[in-house]
């Protein structure tokens, strides 16, 4: 399914729709936010894409532990890296937004802190993997840590930031996505356009990287094989 073309076309179309409708469409005129409200299509949607990629990554880690199939480990690693990429993008777009609405790129908001901690935890995952050379051990310990890291995401970005005061909307309770909070003109761009668009882009990047890894591994194996033959 992943080698098919149609979902890549859908991804490009959705992103084109997001960018055009995002920049030209009608948005509610709110004080302070003004036109920066359009960043919702980028900033928030990228965080959602990050979360989806991390969920897929942890599913592959669980699969690896159940089957010990090396391919699942590559999948888990690459999805985690994709999630980290979108997390960084979400952070950058968020701090640009914060510059124009809250007055500074960084203001130690609980949600900003939670996001940075979550990314640090995932960076530690990459460090841990690189500290081991044995393939099998690296895959298994990496999978265990990945599941552990995913579980730690919940307190860091879903629970603790909501319990304290925050500059983000929807602090002290549920964040902004019930029907009262998001304007209906924006909802038609955000849900059908931006969220699936960015998520599909993430999956596209990840699948390309996975194929690259698999090809590299195959070449490595065949080289080893050739060496063996030439020795024999």
């Amino acid at each position: 399914m992943l080698r098919q073309k149609w979902w890549k076309i859908v991804c490009v179309l959705l992103l084109v729709y997001t960018v055009i409708a995002g920049f030209l469409g009608n948005v509610p005129a709110l004080p302070i936010l003004d036109e920066t409200i359009r960043n919702l299509y980028f900033h928030v949607a990228m965080w959602m894409a990050m979360m989806i990629l991390f969920i897929v990554s942890v599913i592959y880690s669980i699969k690896y532990l159940r089957t010990n199939n090396q391919i699942f480990d590559i999948y888990a690693l690459e999805y985690a890296k994709g999630g980290i990429l979108f997390g960084c993008l979400g952070l950058v777009t968020g701090s640009v937004w914060a510059r124009y609405t809250w007055g500074a790129f960084w203001s130690n908001d609980p949600k900003q802190l939670g996001a940075v901690i979550a990314l640090l935890i995932y960076f530690a995952y990459l460090v841990l993997r690189n500290s081991m050379t044995d393939m099998d051990k690296r895959a298994r310990i990496g999978a265990v840590y990945n599941i552990f890291a995913f579980a730690m995401l919940f307190p860091t970005i879903w629970i603790i930031p909501r319990m304290v005061e925050s500059l983000h909307p929807g602090g002290m309770g549920n964040p902004a996505f019930d029907t009262n909070d998001i304007d209906s003109r924006m909802r038609v761009v955000f849900w059908p356009g931006a969220v699936p668009g960015w998520t599909l882009l993430g999956v596209w990047i990840v699948t390309l990287r996975i194929r690259l890894q698999l090809v590299a591994e195959k070449r490595h194996v065949s080289e080893q094989f050739k060496k063996k033959i030439s020795h024999a």
Partner: protein, 249 residues
């Protein structure tokens, strides 16, 4: 050297005894696993009592660090005091817990693998480290009050919070020590992995400890204690689920 050899041989005899005891205890299922945990816990405790390496080592570490803090800071204000306390707790925890898996050599781990279940093993380690950290928290709290003064209006709460905090930190680091031991790396890897993972707990703890520092009790603190306890329960559950995968080689 002779003394060391004697202690070493004592350990070997001890482990053989534990083996016999465990195989005896394994006969009945739930009571068996409970008594296995108890035996493994006793073994850790006995090793600690005999070698007295972790306890006095960490004690020396705590005392000298707090003394250096006293020399450089005198008696700090409440928020600084609180921040320093939790930072020192973090490093104490790394030092105290790191030994728990690194002390078990490859051969001894294999031996435990053959006589007991992975879950019993990790549970005994969690229990031992939690109690060790409980003790260490109380000692370092005492030393803090002794040397850096007592800026708290409500110290009673803080005793409770520091016990809870010490045990929470020990749970995270026990699991990370298991990972680091399997990755055959030193305690350095454990510290690198651990610091991002304990930030949520440290944030919660430092928010909760405001109870002890403020005259007025703020709202929402009970909720945070519930989250912290929930986090601890999640950590124990994760250790139980994931440790068997780390264990087999």
């Amino acid at each position: 050297l002779l003394l060391y050899a004697a202690i070493d041989r004592g350990d070997e005899i001890l482990t053989i005894f534990i083996g016999l005891w465990l195989s005896f205890a394994a006969n009945s299922s739930i009571i068996g696993s409970f008594s296995q945990i108890l035996v493994l816990f006793k073994k850790d405790l006995l090793l600690e009592v005999r070698q007295q390496y972790t306890f006095y080592g960490v004690l020396l570490y705590v005392a000298s660090t707090i003394f250096v803090l006293y020399l450089s800071m005198g008696e700090p204000e409440g928020p600084v005091w609180k921040g320093l306390f939790w930072m020192i707790q973090l490093f104490v925890c790394v030092n105290a817990v790191a030994k728990s898996f690194l002390q078990e050599g490859r051969g001894r781990l294999l031996y435990f693998f053959s006589i007991t279940g992975a879950r019993n093993f990790i549970l005994s380690k969690l229990l031992f480290n939690a109690l060790l950290m409980l003790l260490m928290s109380l000692i370092s709290l005492g030393l803090f009050v002794l040397m850096l003064g007592n800026p708290m209006p409500n110290p009673g709460y803080f005793i409770f919070i520091s016990c809870l905090g010490g045990m929470s930190l020990s749970l995270v680091f026990t699991f990370l020590a298991a990972i680091a031991a399997r990755a055959q790396q030193s305690a350095a890897l454990m510290a690198i992995l651990g610091f991002p993972l304990v930030i949520p707990q440290l944030l919660l703890l430092s928010k909760i400890s405001n109870i002890a520092f403020a005259d007025v009790i703020q709202g929402g603190l009970a909720g945070m204690i519930v989250v912290l306890v929930g986090l601890d329960i999640m950590l124990v559950a994760l250790s139980l689920i994931l440790f068997p995968f780390l264990w087999k080689d």
